[in-house]
């Protein structure tokens, strides 16, 4: 029974930690990723994202805690469970003197049992057909990233770990990869664990988000929670702001007048029902010129959470 409960988590870490001398790169990290989920691991540069991914892949030995991937305890240098795991860690390096197809052939041989046809399939899927016989060393950054993703997807893994997958891609490429990852999770039930430092990028894709800062898990939430947590406010413009402010205040909606002739309300009922505010303003003889529900920018919210410059605490 306990085993069944554990198996539903594709990734599970328990107080995972890594210390380099005096530096605690990752500290007491506990997270769980369910099957078929896209989990975004968000953090600033140096927050511990890559160290965590390397520990999940058995490339770095944790100094504390443990990690389980696909129900197997991760051990350094082990052969399991990597047949069912694809990954792209940091820069998408490839053998520069080998062609795109040859680099994929290397990966295919490193995953015994993967059929030859998988190479042409993944080349087609990642839009690399025109570059199949080009040396990897001369690829553009965007195509090198596509090759890195192709290497991760070649053997049809159940779990994909991607470190900053949008790096080097142009806006069209980012949309294309987003669609591809959504397709993989929806149609094939693949689980995706991806790191990023851009909240806006992952909010359109992820089911859940974990925010890591200075090696510690700051907050874990699903997308609905993210929407709830973002600061919202109602912006009001009328001909007579003073009169509007007095009327709304009398009706239990005290506001603040900001420079630029804007009245700001931050009560939830006002934000959720701007039509009521409009009615009150009409009754007070100061009908609104503009009513706008403003949501906090995702990046502003992220910076506020991590307490970095640019985000108010």
């Amino acid at each position: 029974m306990e085993k069944d409960a554990r198996m539903k988590w594709i990734i599970e870490t328990e107080n995972l930690g890594k210390r380099y001398g005096d530096v605690q790169a990752v500290d007491g990290l506990s997270l769980r990723v369910a099957a078929g989920e896209i989990y975004a691991f968000l953090g600033l540069n140096g927050a511990g994202k890559t160290t965590t991914i390397r520990m999940l892949l058995g490339m770095i030995k944790p100094t504390g805690g443990s990690a389980t991937v696909l129900g197997r305890h991760v051990r350094l240098g082990s052969r399991e469970p990597w047949a069912e795991v694809g990954y792209l860690v940091e820069m998408p390096h490839a053998y520069p003197e080998l062609t795109v197809a040859e680099n994929l052939e290397v990966v295919r041989r490193l995953h015994p049992g993967t059929e030859s046809k998988a190479i042409s399939r993944v080349i087609e899927r990642l839009g690399l057909a025109a570059y199949a016989n080009r040396r990897a060393g001369v690829l553009s950054q965007g195509n090198a990233q596509r090759l890195g993703l192709a290497k991760a997807l070649l053997h049809d893994p159940k779990l994909i770990l991607l470190d900053e997958p949008a790096n080097g891609l142009d806006p069209a490429g980012i949309v294309e990869i987003r669609e591809l990852l959504l397709e993989l999770t929806r149609e094939q039930g693949v689980t995706v664990f991806m790191s990023s430092h851009i909240l806006a990028e992952v909010s359109r894709l992820a089911d859940r988000i974990g925010i890591i800062h200075e090696g510690r898990m700051l907050k874990e939430m699903d997308i609905a929670e993210l929407e709830r947590n973002r600061r919202r406010r109602l912006l009001v413009r009328t001909r007579d702001l003073e009169a509007a402010g007095r009327a709304l205040s009398a009706a239990g909606h005290p506001g603040k007048i900001l420079p630029g002739e804007i009245l700001v309300l931050d009560q939830i009922d006002a934000i959720d029902h701007p039509e009521d505010i409009a009615g009150l303003l009409v009754q007070a003889g100061t009908p609104p010129k503009q009513l706008l529900v403003e949501e906090e920018e995702l990046e502003q919210y992220f910076l506020r959470l991590v307490g970095a410059n640019g985000g108010e605490k």
Binding site: M59, G77, W82, E90, H93, E97
Partner: protein
């Protein structure tokens, strides 16, 4: 076995597509061509006079190597030093390139035993070094034949070839630990620096009279063929190769890999 063959295929493909085989082959040919030049100068006194001091040295060296037995012994020594250096160069490239090119991470979380990946690399280092030894010694034999060196017989030639083959095997075994240095230093710098230091040490140790127990001095002493080496010397070189392999394996399996 099938997986090992597949891993060897990968390593051979990587090597074949690079410029390294060409450069190491050119480096290898430098040795027999250099000796051919010295023989040529010594056999052409007019050119010798024009070249002055170089010709004096060349005549001295070429005169001493002007018979098959001496020529073969000289060549075995060239193979001992040059061959060891080339072998270290190849091992440094085969192992160190994964760190320098950032491709190491693609070899780590895979369903293939790490021992298989490493064994394939060692096999390719041995095959490559062996091929260069054949190239060096083969072209050396050609040089000797072209200059019609005296004193040759099938027995002497076979003996020379046997000595060269064993010298090459010793050099390959003694070169293995440098794969560990390439892994430890995550690139080419440490093994290249280490081989230079090791060759200096080999000279000092030989001068001190302990050469037959220092793996990298043993190769040179064996190649000279003057003193019979104790069996322990061959055991020392074999152990050096084994320790190098085991050390490399342990490092690849248990060290944190951040690149």
């Amino acid at each position: 076995m099938k997986t090992l063959a597949s891993m060897v295929w990968i390593e051979l493909r990587k090597a074949r597509r690079s410029t390294m085989p060409l450069f190491t082959a050119l480096g290898s040919l430098f040795m027999p061509l250099g000796l051919a030049f010295l023989l040529f100068v010594s056999k052409n006194p007019e050119i010798s006079r024009q070249l002055g001091l170089i010709s004096t040295k060349a005549t001295l060296m070429a005169d001493t190597a002007a018979t098959w037995p001496v020529f073969l012994a000289t060549f075995a020594q060239v193979l001992a030093i040059g061959g060891l250096f080339l072998c270290v160069l190849i091992a440094s490239w085969v192992f160190g390139r994964e760190f320098t090119d950032g491709t190491l991470k693609d070899l780590l979380a895979v369903p293939v035993e790490r021992a298989g990946i490493l064994l394939a690399k060692f096999i390719v280092v041995a095959l490559w070094s062996g091929a260069l030894a054949v190239l060096i010694f083969g072209s050396g034999l050609l040089v000797g034949a072209l200059f019609r060196l005296p004193g040759g017989s099938p027995d002497i030639l076979l003996q020379g070839i046997g000595r060269a083959a064993i010298t090459a095997c010793l050099a390959i075994a003694a070169g293995v630990p440098f794969a560990f240095f390439a892994s430890l230093g995550r690139g080419y710098l440490l093994p290249i620096g280490a081989i230079i230091m090791t060759l200096i040490m080999a000279n000092l140790v030989t001068a001190a009279g302990w050469g037959e127990y220092f793996p990298w001095a043993i190769i040179g002493i064996y190649a000279q063929g003057k003193d019979a080496l104790p069996s322990a010397s061959f055991v020392v070189v074999t152990l050096t190769g084994l320790i190098g392999m085991i050390g490399t394996y342990l490092w690849w399996k248990y060290a944190d890999q951040n690149r």
